[in-house]
Symmetry: C2
DNA sequence: CTGTGTGCAAACACTTTGCAGGTGT
DNA sequence: ACACCTGCAAAGTGTTTGCACACAG
C-alpha cells in the first residue's frame, strides 16, 4: 500500500512530509530515528514539523515508536499497517540498530488478581547477526 | 541488607546521597522517579548529584532504570540486590505507577540464527488493582 | 593525603508551544 | 473557503559537563 493510500484511509491530509516519513519507514528493514528519517528525505523539513507529523502518525497507529534506554527513539510501521501480530523489538548493543521482529510475537503474561493488561512491550537486547559475523 | 553494607560490598564510597537513594528505593513498593526520590530525602540534594549517583548505582547494578514511553523514568532495586529473577515491569495507565513484578519472570524468546540475546525487557501496560477497584 | 563526590552555573539535546502564513481538500 | 499543516522563534524539560571545593577512605 502506498503512503498516499494509507493517509487517505486514515482520513489524514496528504502532505509531502507525512508521505515522506511513511515511505522512508516502510522501505527500511530497521527502525529509524528522527534524524535518520530526515536525512533520507529529499525535502529539508523543519524538526518541528517532523515531530508533529510523527505524533499524528503514531496517534493514528500508522507508525510506532520504540524507545531504548531513554536514549534512542526510533520509528517503524505499526501492526495496523503491517497486519502482523504485536511483536518483540530487538536492539543491537553493537550497531545500535532496532528491528521489529515480526516473526516473534509477544508472549502473554498472567497478572495478579485485579490487574488488567492492555499492552505488552518487549525489547530484546543483544548482538545482531551481522555484528556477530564481524567479530 | 543496609544501604551502607551494599555500598561497601560494591566498593563504593558511602555518601549520604547514595545511601539515601538506596534507602528510599528499597523501602518503596513501587519504582520511583528522580523527583519522587528527591522529595522523600531529608537532605536537599542538587539534581546533578542525583543524576551522578543514579548513574553510579545503575552501573553497579544496585538499582535499575525503567523507562515508559520516553516520559517516565523510574528507579528500583536491581535483581543483583533483590536476588530475584529478571522480572517484568508493570505500568498503570491510570495512576502512572511502575512496579517490578517480582513474581513474573521474563519469558525467553528464540531469536533467528546468528542473533544472540543478552537481556530482555518486558513492560506490561494496563490498570493496577487499586485503580481498578476505584472504577 | 588523594581520589572521588558534591554543588553551582552553564551547556546540551530533544521536544513542545505560539503565531503568522501557506497548503490540501 | 476553511481547516489544518508548516516553518520559525522561543520556551521547556531532562540530563550532562566543567570547575572549584569538600569529604571519605
Amino acid at each position: 500500500m502506498k503512503a498516499a493510500e494509507i493517509l487517505n484511509q486514515y482520513k489524514l491530509k496528504r502532505t509531502s512530509c507525512r508521505e515522506g516519513i511513511i515511505d522512508v519507514v516502510k522501505s527500511s528493514n530497521q527502525a529509524l530515528s528522527e534524524n535518520q528519517i530526515r536525512e533520507r528525505l529529499a525535502g529539508n523539513y523543519d524538526r518541528t514539523t517532523f515531530y508533529r507529523s510523527f505524533k499524528t502518525l503514531v496517534e493514528h497507529k500508522i507508525i510506532h515508536k520504540i524507545i531504548v534506554d531513554n536514549q534512542f527513539v526510533k520509528y517503524a510501521l505499526d501492526n495496523t499497517i503491517t497486519k502482523k501480530d504485536n511483536h518483540a523489538h530487538f536492539y543491537c548493543n553493537e550497531c545500535q540498530t532496532v528491528k521489529c521482529m515480526d516473526a516473534i510475537p509477544v508472549k502473554q503474561y498472567h497478572l495478579p488478581d485485579g490487574y488488567s493488561d492492555e499492552e505488552t512491550e518487549v525489547l530484546i537486547k543483544g548482538t545482531c547477526a551481522s555484528c556477530k559475523e564481524q567479530e
